[in-house]
Symmetry: C2
Subunit: 402 residues, 2 copies
C-alpha cells in the first residue's frame, strides 16, 4: 500500500475545466477526440474501451463531435473478426486549422495544419530580419498569414488560432517579446501588430520546437530537454508532457549557464557563460571565420570538407555544451536530451565531444543525447500544432465558434 506522491501533473486533456457536469462533458469530448486522433480510425466501441466510458456514452459524444464537424464517419470497417463491424471514425480533415508562424533571423514562415496533423498549406519568405523594426516584419508576416489562411480556406479549413515562434524571450502573457537579440527587438507587443481576429499565442522557438518533438516524433519521452540555437542558445524543458515556463516565462536560458566562472565576460553581466563557448559568434571566432549570412550552413560546409579549425571549434563547443548540460541533467533528471533547431545541422561534429563530456561527468549511465529529425522545421510545426492541440483539448469551445 502506497500513499500518492505529490505529482504536479495529472496530465490528460482539458483538465483546466470546471468540475461541473458540463465540464465533465467537455473533458470527455476531448478524450474521445484525442483517442480518435491518436489511434487512427476507430469504432465507437473501440473508443469506449480505450477511454473507459460505455458505448452509449461515447455514442452521444461522437454525435456531438460529428455535428461540430470535428469527427467524420468513414463508413463500416472491413472486419476480419466475428461480430458486426464497427463504423470507422476519423478526425475531420476539414474544419478548424492551426496556423503556425515563425519569425526567424533570415526568414519568415507560415503554415496551416489540420486536426489530423497534416500540413495543408505553407508559405516562406527568405530575407534577413535582423535589426528591422517589428512593424514592417509583422506586416510581411501578416501578408503571408493571409495567403496561407486563404489557401486553407479553399480546402474547407478555417483558422482556429495563430501561434508565432520567435527567436527570443517571451513574457508569460504569450504576446510580448521581451528580448530578441537576433532581431534587436525589445518589449514588443506582437498582439497589437497581428490580426486581432485570431486567438494568438507567441512563444520562444525552442519551446515550440520541443512541443513539435513531443507531439510529432514517436517515442519522445514525457520528460526531456530540448536544446536549440540560432545565435543565442536556448533550451526548452518538458516535464510530464508540458513545458516548464518559469515565473517570467524565461526558463531554459541555457546560454547563460556558467561553464567557466572566470571565463570571458558576457553581455549578460556574467563570465564564462555557455554562449561564450558554444554560441554561434564564439564558434565562428574560434574557427577563425568572419560572421556572414548563412552562418550555420557555412560551419557545416567547412566541417564537412574537413576544415580542422572548424572541427576543433565545434568539438570545443560540444565540450562546453556537455558541461552545461551536465548541470541541467543533474538538476532535472530528464529522460533524454534532444538537439533541435538550427543546431541539429551541426550535430555530427558537436555530439561526440558533448556525449563524452556528459558521460565523463555522470556516475552510472549518462543521459542519452539525440538529434531532432525535425531539424529547423520544428518550431514552425510546433506552433501550428499547439493551436491544433488547443482544439483537441477543448473541442466544445471551438465548436461554439464554428
Amino acid at each position: 500500500m502506497t500513499a500518492p506522491l505529490h505529482e504536479a501533473h495529472p496530465a490528460g486533456p482539458g483538465r483546466a475545466l470546471p468540475d461541473t457536469q458540463q465540464g465533465m462533458r467537455r473533458r470527455n469530448l476531448a478524450r474521445v477526440l484525442h483517442a480518435v486522433r491518436a489511434e487512427g480510425p476507430l469504432s465507437r466501441a473501440a473508443v469506449a474501451s480505450r477511454i473507459g466510458l460505455t458505448r452509449a456514452a461515447v455514442s452521444t459524444l461522437v454525435d456531438e463531435l460529428v455535428r461540430s464537424g470535428l469527427i467524420e464517419e468513414l463508413g463500416p470497417e472491413r472486419p476480419g473478426r466475428v461480430g458486426r463491424p464497427g463504423s470507422a471514425l476519423a478526425v475531420s480533415g476539414r474544419g478548424p486549422a492551426g496556423i503556425g508562424a515563425e519569425i526567424g533571423v533570415d526568414h519568415l514562415a507560415v503554415c496551416a495544419v489540420d486536426l489530423r496533423g497534416t500540413t495543408r498549406s505553407r508559405a516562406i519568405r527568405q530575407g534577413a530580419n535582423r535589426g528591422r523594426s517589428p512593424g514592417p516584419v509583422i506586416a510581411e508576416l501578416t501578408e503571408l498569414i493571409g495567403r496561407v489562411v486563404a489557401e486553407a480556406a479553399d480546402e474547407g479549413l478555417w483558422p482556429a488560432g495563430l501561434a508565432v515562434a520567435v527567436p527570443g524571450l517571451v513574457a508569460r502573457d504569450a504576446r510580448t517579446v521581451v528580448r530578441a537579440p537576433n532581431l534587436d527587438w525589445h518589449d514588443t507587443d506582437l498582439g497589437g501588430l497581428l490580426p486581432a481576429d485570431l486567438p494568438l499565442t507567441v512563444d520562444n522557438e525552442a519551446n515550440f520546437g520541443a512541443l513539435a518533438e513531443l507531439w510529432l516524433e514517436d517515442g519522445t519521452p514525457h520528460d526531456f530537454l530540448h536544446v536549440s540555437a540560432e545565435i543565442g542558445i536556448g533550451a526548452a524543458v518538458v516535464v510530464d508532457g508540458g513545458l516548464l515556463r518559469g515565473t517570467r516565462g524565461f526558463a531554459g536560458e541555457l546560454g547563460h549557464v556558467p561553464v567557466r566562472p572566470d571565463g570571458p565576460a558576457c553581455a549578460c553581466g556574467g563570465r564564462g557563460c555557455l554562449e561564450q563557448y558554444a554560441g554561434e559568434e564564439a564558434v565562428l571566432r574560434a574557427a577563425g571565420l568572419e560572421p556572414d549570412e548563412d552562418r550555420v550552413g557555412l560551419l557545416a560546409g567547412r566541417a564537412a570538407q574537413g576544415d580542422e579549425d572548424v572541427r576543433r571549434a565545434l568539438r570545443d563547443a560540444g565540450t562546453a555544451l556537455g558541461v552545461a548540460l551536465t548541470g541541467a541533467v543533474n538538476l532535472l533528471d530528464p529522460q533524454s536530451v534532444v538537439l533541435g533547431g538550427e543546431l541539429s545541422g551541426l550535430a555530427p561534429w558537436l555530439l561526440p565531444s558533448l556525449r563524452e563530456e556528459l558521460a565523463r561527468r555522470t556516475a552510472g549511465p549518462a543521459c542519452p543525447v539525440s538529434v531532432s529529425r525535425l531539424g529547423p522545421e520544428g518550431p514552425l510545426l510546433g506552433a501550428a500544432h499547439s493551436v491544433v492541440r488547443a482544439v483537441l483539448d477543448d473541442p466544445a469551445a471551438v465548436a461554439a465558434r464554428a
Copy 2:
C-alpha cells in the same frame, strides 16, 4: 483574445480522479475541504462562493464531510453583517493524522500532524546513524513511530499514512533508498522494513523540506528552488506548486553541477562539482578543521566567534553556490531560491557572497535568495504534512477507512 498556453499543471486538488460523476463528487469534496482548511472557519455559503458551487451542493458535500469526521460545525458565526449568520465550519482536530519521520545522520525524529496542520505529538532520538545498517535504524524508528501513534491516538487521532524523509536519493516507487552516502545505504527497500499497515511514502529530505516551505510559510511562491545540504548538496525544484522529480526521481542533484570544469575530481566521476567547493567536507577542509560529529554546529560556532579561516571558507562556498545557482536559475526561472535544512544555520556567512555572485551573473534583477524559517525542522514537517495533504486531496478515500 488569447489561446490557452500549454501549461503542464492545471493545479487543484485531486485531479487524478476519473471523469465520472463519482470522480466529480470526490473532487468537489476535496475542494470544499481545502477551502475550509485554507480560509479558516467558513460558512457553507462562503465556501460555495469561493469554489463556485451552489449553496445547496455545498450543503450536501459538507454533510458528507461532517459525517466522515473531517469537518466539524463550530456553531453560529458572530456577525457584523446583515442577514442570517452562517454556521462556522472548521477542519476537525480529530480523525486522520499524518505521521512524518526523518532519518538524519545524527538523529531520528517522528511527528504527528492533524488535519488542521497542528503538530500534536513528536519524538526525537539523538545518535549517529552513519554506517549503521538499515535494519536496526528502522527498528528504532519504528519504535518511535509506535510511541507517536499511541500518543496521537489518545487525542482521537488515527494515522492516515507514514512519510519518511531520508538524506539521499529515493526511487520513484517512493520506497527504495537508492543511495544515501551519509548513511552508507544503497538500494534499500524501506517498504519491507517499516510497518506495513500504513500507506508509506519515502522521499528525499530536500523534497519534503521544499513542500514544508510551500505549504507552511505564507508568501512562498509556487515556483522556487529549495536548497538543502547535510553532506551532499541537494535541491528540490517546485514548479507550479508541485515537485519536479525527474525520470528516475533524482532531480535536484545540485551537488554535482559543474562549477569549475577542471576542478578537483569528484566521486561522481566528474570534476569541479559544486560539492567539491560547498560540500561539508570541502568546507571543513578549506577551513582547516577536522570532520567531527556536529559539523554544522562547529562551523557556525567558529564563524560566529570570528574565525577568519572558517569565514573565508564559507564565503568561498557561497560563491560556488552562487555559480551553480546561476545555472539553475537561468534554466528554471524560479521566483525565488530558499536555503533550508541544516544549511540555513550557516546562511549568515554564505549568503553575502552567494547573492553577490548571483547578482553579478544576472542581467536585470537577480533572483531573490532567502533563508527558510523552518530550518532543520522542514523535512520532518513536510513529510507529515504530505500525508495530511493526501487526505485533503481525496477525503473520500480516507473516509472509507475511518
